[in-house]
């Protein structure tokens, strides 16, 4: 009953006409920011911080506005993934794999509605989980040391080869390229710079947003110029936008499973939404009966990553609120806002400032419903993007990408780098090498290396330290299985099919 009382407190703080209006504005801005390539949730929140100060908002109102932008951006990221094969932000990358093929088949509306609904399920379940188990779940962070994190990232890596359904070797090559790029920058264990050529711009490593926008958006433009728009989703005749009830019903377990896995990935500091959406996609692919169809536009392939990354967004709030450890870039920004409002997140926050915590949870629930009602009817507007003449649309997208990346660091160097990544992406696509593993290599590689090095420092270079806990060993077993299983599964799965055909 305590939780009912707490939620009542939360809603009494958050449910005024004024805050409701802020939630709606926040959701709207967030959706647009999320959909624009190069502008992700962390930029969206950061850009609005000065506005909350100028408007003189109090703690609760600021949080309502900013978390609405956060959740909105998580929803919005899928829109350009599905319509243009350009992820609006990094967690939406996995959604391109099946979302874009759906759009090319004329099912853009279906893909948007299914993914919107999946986002809703993931975010709502994660928010409820946050309300119920956050204080006890905070302890999970204490059992994850360098060895356990290394095993977790290894698990993600071992399943990377399966991203591309055609050629695992090419996917492995692409992830190695990503790993190589991840080595650039200051090495945390020695404090020395690597592969920077003395260039200050490279000292912090290469921002994966630059890589994403280059590999996806810029290379898409190159590709489009060459093919004159053939074989793309632009101009595909669209059917009437209806709500695909049967697809939503068929993916109900997918959404539920993905929400749980995504939430757990979000709770672990440093893993975050990108790992959440990746793991859920790979999980659904490996347990689905029709795994060969993943990548060609199946409903489960958009439902899983969207439920996963939105659940992870909620999960990332757990370590932020209970430990003050930001689980992702966006929660780092939210953390800064809380500090500026003289609210110190930490183990005592739930007891010290129940009004803030429960107001936040209530506003997340409100934002979620606002987003669902905003997103489903707006699908009709979104799909019209595909009817915009390409001569106007693609320059527009390119311009927004450049502005977005420039706003990250205010340096032209990132723009050059982005263009280089565009060329790389173009070459890779010509050679039929998937680009998603490159990003995952950059994203996970640095974390994986740092944790391995930390483990080695702590254990004086003793390898057995990596298997020193139950959690680490189970993750290793899962990683080995994830790597080996596809070889066996494929044989077993293919046999009955041949029999059927014969």
């Amino acid at each position: 009953m305590e939780i009912i009382n707490n939620l009542y407190l939360g809603f009494s703080v958050a449910l005024s006409p004024y805050t409701l209006m802020l939630a709606i504005i926040g959701c709207f801005i967030g959706t647009i920011v999320g959909a624009l390539p190069g502008l992700g949730p962390s930029n969206g929140v950061a850009i609005l911080i000065p506005i909350t100060f100028t408007m003189g908002l109090d703690a609760t109102a600021s949080l309502v506005l900013l978390t609405a932008v956060y959740y909105g951006a998580m929803y919005g990221g899928r829109i350009s993934s599905i319509l243009l094969n350009i992820p609006g932000d990094e967690p939406a990358m996995m959604t391109t794999l099946d979302g874009y093929p759906m759009a090319k088949n004329g099912r853009a509306g279906d893909a948007l509605v299914i993914s919107g609904f999946a986002s809703f399920v993931g975010a709502l379940l994660a928010t409820l989980a946050l309300a119920i188990v956050a204080p006890s779940l905070a302890r999970v962070a204490y059992v994850f040391g360098p060895a356990e994190y290394f095993a977790l990232y290894l698990l993600a890596f071992c399943t990377l080869g399966g991203v591309a359904s055609k050629n695992q070797a090419k996917a492995a090559l692409a992830s190695c390229v990503g790993l190589g790029i991840a080595m650039i920058g200051v090495d945390h264990t020695t404090g020395m710079t690597r592969y920077t050529g003395g260039n200050l711009h490279l000292m912090d490593g290469i921002d994966f947003l630059v890589a994403i926008v280059g590999l996806f958006a810029v290379s898409e433009v190159f590709f489009f110029i060459e093919s004159h728009g053939k074989n793309s989703s632009l101009g595909v005749t669209l059917g009437k936008v209806t709500i695909p009830w049967s697809d939503i019903f068929h993916t109900r377990w997918t959404m539920l499973r993905s929400s749980i896995v995504g939430f757990i990935a979000g709770v672990l500091p440093g893993a975050g939404a990108s790992l959440g959406s990746f793991l859920t996609y790979m999980m659904e692919k490996s347990i689905a009966g029709n795994r060969e169809e993943f990548g060609t536009g199946v409903a489960k392939g958009v439902a899983a990553p969207e439920a996963g990354n939105n659940a992870a967004a909620g999960g990332a709030l757990v370590p932020m609120l209970t430990l003050g450890v930001p689980g992702s870039g966006t929660t780092a920004v939210l953390l800064a806002v809380l500090m500026t409002l003289n609210i110190t997140p930490g183990p005592t926050l739930f007891a010290d400032r129940p009004d803030v915590v429960w107001g936040l949870i209530a506003s997340l629930i409100i934002a979620n419903f606002v987003l669902l009602f905003m997103n489903v009817p707006m699908v009709k507007v979104f799909v019209r993007i595909l009817q915009v003449p390409p001569a106007m649309l693609l320059p527009g997208v390119t311009m927004v990408s450049f502005v977005g990346i420039y706003s990250l660091s205010g340096s032209y160097f990132d723009l050059l780098l982005m263009t280089l990544f565009g060329v790389l992406g173009y070459i890779f696509r010509k050679l039929d090498i998937p680009t998603v593993p490159v990003i995952l290599g950059i994203l996970l590689g640095a974390n994986m290396e740092n944790n391995l090095r930390r483990a080695m420092v702590l254990s004086d270079g003793d390898w057995t330290f990596l298997f020193s806990s139950g959690i680490a060993i189970s993750l290793w077993v899962a990683a080995v299985l994830g790597f080996v299983a596809p070889f066996f599964f494929r044989r077993i799965m293919k046999k009955p099919k041949i029999a059927e055909n014969a």
């Binding site: 000065p50 404090g191 800064a336 003289n342 019209r384 930390r454």
Partner: protein, 320 residues
């Protein structure tokens, strides 16, 4: 089409927000969320609230190179801008001392003042066998491998240096043997310590406030001259016979080419912020200790800190 127009409008709006030039600008040389961002946003907000500047201060985040990109930007492109302030801290001084800004040096800007300091702390988990700093030092002297530290900076950074300063002061010379892992921020370092993966955490007071209140960690020592207001039960290292003072000051630098009058004016404005009630409240809430040095005093103090850091860094081999 409607959506398309919206995207264009939105991007135009962002472009305007990020290039507004008529207001005072504060550059935070990092992404939103860290100490430099906090410095810019708090000082910027108070400067406007107490009427020291006519317009709200525009905060620009210019992340890269551990602050090096912003430093380079100020030195090479904004050398005479008298309406520009840049957030700085001990980390800025450490990196300048270790030549981490690609050959740029501290004398290429003017350090205008610090108005608060985050005291250095050495923390252990609540069930740790160490009751005071000397217990810990004794254990390290007996077996350097038995105590590992976690901190929020990379190896060679200020959190790492704090531990080395303490051990050097107690006569332990083999300081390269001390185990240190750099993780992503102080809170992360604490979770590693509470989880038992490391035996000690080295960091700033502001990073541990929430954990101290919940009783999950104990602070063995604070590295200040006097005990910190609000945390009177934490003894200083000096009280325990180890003469080490290490604080992460929060302050500002300005371009080299502004006039002496402008430099003094910024010092005065900063002093006004330091004396405001709003700043006092912000300091208490964030575990900052009073530490006000402005103008020429501050510049010569920073020069001294940099000289000391150069010496220590050479000893551990971070620089030649």
């Amino acid at each position: 089409m409607a959506f398309k127009l919206n995207t264009l409008l939105a991007s135009a709006a962002f472009a305007v927000i990020s290039t507004t030039s008529f207001a005072t600008e504060c550059i935070a040389p990092a992404n939103p969320g860290g100490g430099w961002d906090f410095t810019c946003r708090q000082i910027g907000k108070i400067l406007f609230d107490i009427g020291q500047v006519p317009n709200p201060v525009q905060v620009t985040n210019m992340a890269g190179g551990g602050g090096g990109l912003a430093f380079n930007h100020v030195v090479s492109e904004r050398g005479t801008d008298n309406d520009l302030i840049v957030a700085a801290s001990q980390a800025t001084a450490t990196r300048l001392a270790q030549n981490a800004y690609a050959g740029m040096t501290a004398d290429q800007v003017r350090f205008v003042g610090a108005i608060g300091a985050d005291p250095g702390v050495i923390v252990v988990a609540k069930d740790s066998p160490f009751q005071n700093l000397n217990d810990m030092v004794a254990a390290i002297k007996a077996d350097p491998g038995s105590v590992a530290f976690a901190g929020g900076s990379a190896a060679g950074g200020f959190d790492h240096l704090k531990v080395l300063m303490i051990l050097k002061e107690t006569g332990f010379t083999d300081i390269r043997k001390i185990k240190y892992i750099g993780v992503d921020g102080g809170a992360d370092a604490i979770t590693q310590t509470v989880g038992g993966f490391t035996q000690g955490m080295t960091g700033d007071m502001s990073e541990i406030v929430g954990f101290l209140k919940s009783g999950e960690v104990r602070a063995l020592a604070v590295l200040t001259e006097q005990r910190v207001p609000g945390f009177e039960d934490i003894p200083t290292a000096q009280e325990q016979g180890i003469d080490v003072v290490a604080v992460n000051w929060r302050g500002l630098y300005v371009p080299k080419g502004i006039s002496d009058a402008d430099f003094e004016a910024w010092g005065g404005k900063l002093k006004a912020v330091a004396e405001s009630q709003e700043w006092q409240d912000a300091m208490t809430a964030n575990g900052l200790a009073p530490f006000t040095k402005v103008g020429g005093d501050f510049q010569s103090w920073v020069d001294g800190v940099i000289a000391d850091t150069v010496e220590l860094s050479k000893e551990i081999g971070v620089i030649q």
